[in-house]
Symmetry: C2
Subunit: 140 residues, 2 copies
């Protein structure tokens, strides 16, 4: 059993923040900032890609609600909501990080360094590859 | 008009990746990695908290589909899906970053440094504040 399934099954301790029929949230035990929570579906799915479409809405609506709770309950200015799929994913059970943010909290360098495209043609080629791949995944 | 509303209205150029009734995605012009896309609702909402519940599902289902397109179209190993709400949010029109990831791509130090709770009591106190705030936001 994966460690997040164990938490969902009450077989491993965690500090729970939200408990609902299909999902739970608990404090990350090594938070970026205090209050940093992990929101997971109770059932085991490895990545976002593996989630059934019907769970996407409730799960990210849960992230939105947690985000509001960070502001209203912890006085955060905003939030960071993120999912690592496979790469940088420490536990192979999909989890949404919801992290309280404040101005100048030290996470400024976070989204850097950025790069550039070598040319407009290269950018259009990347977009064309993504558009072609999306054709296999129409909106449900 | 905000710069993302201008892109959605075809009044500002962008390399589009996805165009649907309620949302579009386009390449970030300063990508973390080539293919890095921004997915936005066409209508202007500032943060995730401002999004109507009915849009959350389709928007993050779009992020899931883009994630699959990163793997299938660009050969990525996985993806990073993230939303900055207010803090670190460069354009005040909610946008979901979908970034292709590969092992050892250099983003390893990304989710660090982490901190710790001073005590179990402190962790439980944070959880209690979040749980209390969530009571105002039941599942829809």
């Amino acid at each position: 059993m994966c460690s997040f399934c164990a938490i969902a099954a009450n077989e491993k301790p965690a500090v729970l923040v939200l408990e609902e029929e299909e999902m739970i949230a608990f404090l990350d035990h090594r938070p970026l900032f205090w209050g940093h929570s992990l929101l997971i579906p109770r059932r085991h799915y490895e990545t976002m890609s593996d989630l059934p479409a019907r769970l996407i809405g409730p799960l990210f609506e849960g992230a939105r609600r947690l985000s509001l709770a960070m502001e209203e309950g912890l006085g955060a200015t905003g939030s960071f909501v993120a999912v690592n799929n496979r790469v940088s994913q420490s536990v192979p059970h999909v989890h949404v990080h919801v992290v309280p943010r404040r101005r100048k909290d030290g996470l400024r360098g976070f989204f850097w360094p950025r790069t550039r495209y070598d040319s407009d043609e290269q950018a259009h080629e990347f977009a064309a590859r993504l558009r072609a791949a999306l054709e296999a995944h129409p909106p449900s």
